[in-house]
Amino acid sequence: MLEMLNVYKSYAGAPVLQDVSLRVGPAESLIVLGGSGSGKSTLLRLCIGLDRCDSGQVVVNDTDISRLKEEELIAIRDQMGIVFQEGALFDSLTIRQNVGYRLYDEGGWEEHEIEEIVIRLLGFVGLAHTIDMKPAELSGGMRRRVAIARALAGQPRFMLYDEPTAGLDPVTARSICDLLVKLRDMEGMSSVVVTHDLNAAYFLAEHTARVASPGDIRVEREPADQCFIHTSFSVLRDGRIMFTGNMDELVASDDPYIREFVS
């Protein structure tokens, strides 16, 4: 379980997050909506310990990580994967080395074992043919899919996505959303998705992945009575959580900011 309790964070005296509390259970998705500069990316960095909060707690599986040292955080980060906005792939490495980065770095793996894992993960994101390419040869959507594969190499239990569909065409954005749904429903991964892309957010809430036949995983719209059980929404405005609830409650909200945001 991933939990934030009364978290405050400021940069150079300017508050970025104020009294933020949220919770993500096993195999659940939390979608954090908010405009630019609302503190969404900072929230993700706090979740994985890349930044420290000024006060409050960030709890990952019963461990408060907000005061841990960098060396102690490594064990926590083994359970987590993060996909940055532009993918943040290592320019100087091939896609094989990027995806297998964690395995090469921790050592103890045979070359053929790493190769198998990398091919399997690249196959999962539909990019097995890019294995010998460099990140510069890939499109924005492909880079993000490779970043997802790289994050999965450590077999994380939590995934954090920073604007996974921003700036992508609808078809590519849909392919990314499909991956997120599959990871949540097939692998039971918890996730926090920060985005201002409402279409992507609604897609994640309304769709589910199921095995149609062996080797054939389908992402389909859920029946209305089963909707939203695995996905909750939070709306962040000026560093404060101003809404938490499911998609129905979000759409029905009469708050003027949320009405403007979802319209």
């Binding site: 890349l50 060396e71 980060r77 993060i82 770095d105």
Partner: protein
């Protein structure tokens, strides 16, 4: 305003010291990134050979040309070899090599690390469980510290070649006279000082580049700013530390 400047200066010195301390400490901690260190040694050492050879060669030539007229007026043109070798080995070789490496390698380190910071690659590295200081800073520091003395020796050697060619064809000095005077005038202290100082200069160039690179902010413009700062700071620190090191060498070795 003035107080803020002092505080930010002190914070910068503190950050630099902490980074340098961690980089040195990582030499004794696992994992050690041996392959990365050798890659950097190749990039810094072999990659800088051309500019170091050219710098040394022409500096030696100019030294011989410029000093010959003065020496001739004292009837001591035969000592040109001594002047070239002492100037190069004691001062010009180490300092010019360090300044060239600050321009070529220090700027490269700052821009590479700076680009990684602004594109979240450093954060991605941390998220994947790697310490960026261990993976990026320590290998660059080790490579620069080990390569700069060797590059300085190459610079000194080609400087002497440059001085010899000018002495031979312009000043009409005998080859044996130039080389015997050049070698006889050098002492062990000169060699130890001349090849010891680059160890300190290499440390300064690498650490300043890494420090400014990792503190980059503000997108691509910030990368440019970090690169410029890195070259300027490293060059000034090399010249300042050269003065201090010379003072120490004179105090303790002469």
């Amino acid at each position: 305003m003035f107080l803020n400047l002092i505080i930010s200066f002190l914070v910068e010195i503190q950050d630099f010291s902490l980074l340098a301390f961690k980089a040195i400490l990582n030499l004794f901690r696992r994992p050690r990134y041996i392959r990365e260190t050798f890659e950097q040694m190749d990039l810094i050492g072999v990659g800088s050979l051309t500019i170091i050879i050219l710098t040394g060669f022409f500096t030696g030539g100019v030294l011989a040309l410029q000093t010959s007229s003065t020496l001739r007026s004292f009837g001591a043109v035969g000592l040109t070899g001594q002047l070239v070798s002492m100037s190069l080995v004691r001062e010009l070789g180490p300092v010019l090599s360090a300044l060239m490496i600050a321009g070529r390698i220090g700027s490269g380190i700052a821009s590479e690390l700076g680009s990684m910071v602004v594109t979240d690659q450093i954060n991605a590295m941390r998220a994947l469980g790697t310490d960026p200081v261990k993976k990026l800073v320590t290998p660059r520091m080790m490579a620069t510290v080990s390569m700069l003395p060797l590059l300085t020796a190459v610079c000194d050697f080609f400087g002497l070649i440059g001085g010899w060619l000018v002495s031979l064809y312009e000043l009409k000095l005998r080859t044996s006279l130039f080389w015997s005077v050049a070698f006889d005038s050098l002492t062990y202290e000169d060699l130890i000082g001349g090849l010891g100082k680059p160890l300190v200069f290499g440390f300064i160039v690498a650490m300043v580049g890494c420090h400014h690179g990792l503190r980059t902010w503000g997108g691509t413009q910030g990368v440019g700013r970090a690169t410029t700062k890195s070259v300027v700071t490293a060059s000034i620190l090399v010249i300042m530390s050269d003065f201090i090191l010379n003072k120490l060498i004179i105090e303790f070795m002469h």
